[in-house]
């Protein structure tokens, strides 16, 4: 069983499992949307005292924070009990493209080159990681959802706003990857 879980999953099984998570949360009377947690954390830290946007009953959303804690634990389990030595099967053309940007494929989930201590404590690394995160947090709230809230929940409910948001996600991602990456890396 452990071995079966530990192997990388095929995309169709992964997709099925994500749908099951969404349906499970619906059954529990909740809605699958992860980025709300960022707003909830701001509110829990007291941002609601000064800013109306964070002045809401975040405690009613505690379930989502517990889901977040679980997600971290799921990461821990995946990296320990369910770890695999098999390198990630990234397509050869992606490896080549990244090589041209001097980003070397190391077979892990994320490149050590961008997520290791050295990059973190370089000026460029600090700015890239902080600004990248900032855009995710700012954009997701402006758009009212992220890959889960719009991409999975919204599209599954055939919401036009979610389709527009997903088109935006991809437009931004393509601009970053194809136009800005060569300037940044």
């Amino acid at each position: 069983m452990i071995e079966l879980i530990s192997e990388p999953w095929p995309w169709y099984f992964s997709g099925l499992m994500i749908a099951i998570i969404m349906i499970t949360l619906i059954y529990f009377g909740k809605s699958f949307g992860f980025s709300s947690n960022l707003r909830i954390i701001c509110a829990a830290c007291g941002a609601g005292k000064k800013y109306e946007f964070f002045n809401f009953n975040w405690k009613a959303q505690k379930w989502n924070l517990l889901f977040l804690v679980g997600a971290i634990l799921g990461g821990v389990l995946s990296a320990t009990v369910f770890s695999t030595d098999e390198p990630l099967r990234l397509s050869a053309s992606t490896i080549r493209d990244l090589e041209e940007l001097n980003i070397h494929f190391d077979g892990k989930l994320n490149p050590e080159q961008l997520f290791g201590i050295e990059f973190l404590f370089s000026i460029k690394g600090f700015l890239v990681l902080l600004a990248g995160g900032f855009m995710v947090g700012f954009g997701t709230r402006w758009a009212g959802g992220c890959t889960s809230g719009h991409g999975i929940s919204g599209l599954s409910n055939l919401q036009m706003p979610s389709l527009i948001a997903v088109i935006g996600f991809f437009a931004g991602g393509l601009i970053m990857t194809h136009l800005l990456f060569p300037l940044i890396f």
Binding site: W11, S14, I18, Y51, G75, G133, A143, H150, S156, L174
Partner: protein
């Protein structure tokens, strides 16, 4: 204890995100370069099954675990906030390879640098909350 099920659901979500490799910066790059079906397959399958599931829930007026009818909140109409916010999100997604869920899953994998990405995301959300009334929606 009633809330324990959400932690369990979160743990399963974290394992799904890891084993599907959807948390991988490399996979996100591969996706934005159209070099594999992997990420499209994941999202396509999830949405495909999701559409059918929600259709059936509505059609048969299914109830949730407490016996209350399942309701879906319609998203506000409009396009500006979705397009502009979406583009900003996409820029950050491609750069960090992480959307909000995977960010936290990656903390569990021990990538220290992701903590700075999370700090950035919180700062971004906080900033939006401050200036939201000045932005088009």
């Amino acid at each position: 204890m009633k809330q324990l099920k959400f932690i369990v659901a979160g743990i399963i979500f974290g394992i799904i995100m890891s084993k599907s490799e959807a948390v991988s910066w490399y996979r996100i790059q591969e996706m934005f370069r159209f070099q594999s079906i992997h990420m499209y397959g994941i999202m396509g399958t999830a949405v495909g099954i999701g559409v059918i599931a929600i259709y059936l829930i509505k059609k048969y007026r299914l109830k949730d675990h407490s016996g209350a009818p399942i309701k879906f909140v319609e998203k506000e109409k409009g396009w500006k906030r979705y397009l502009y916010g979406g583009i900003i999100f996409g820029l950050g997604w491609a750069l960090t390879g992480a959307c909000p869920g995977p960010m936290f899953v990656l903390i569990g994998h021990g990538y220290l640098a992701i903590l700075l990405v999370v700090a950035g995301a919180l700062l971004g959300t906080f900033s939006y909350g401050i200036i939201k009334d000045k932005l088009p929606h």
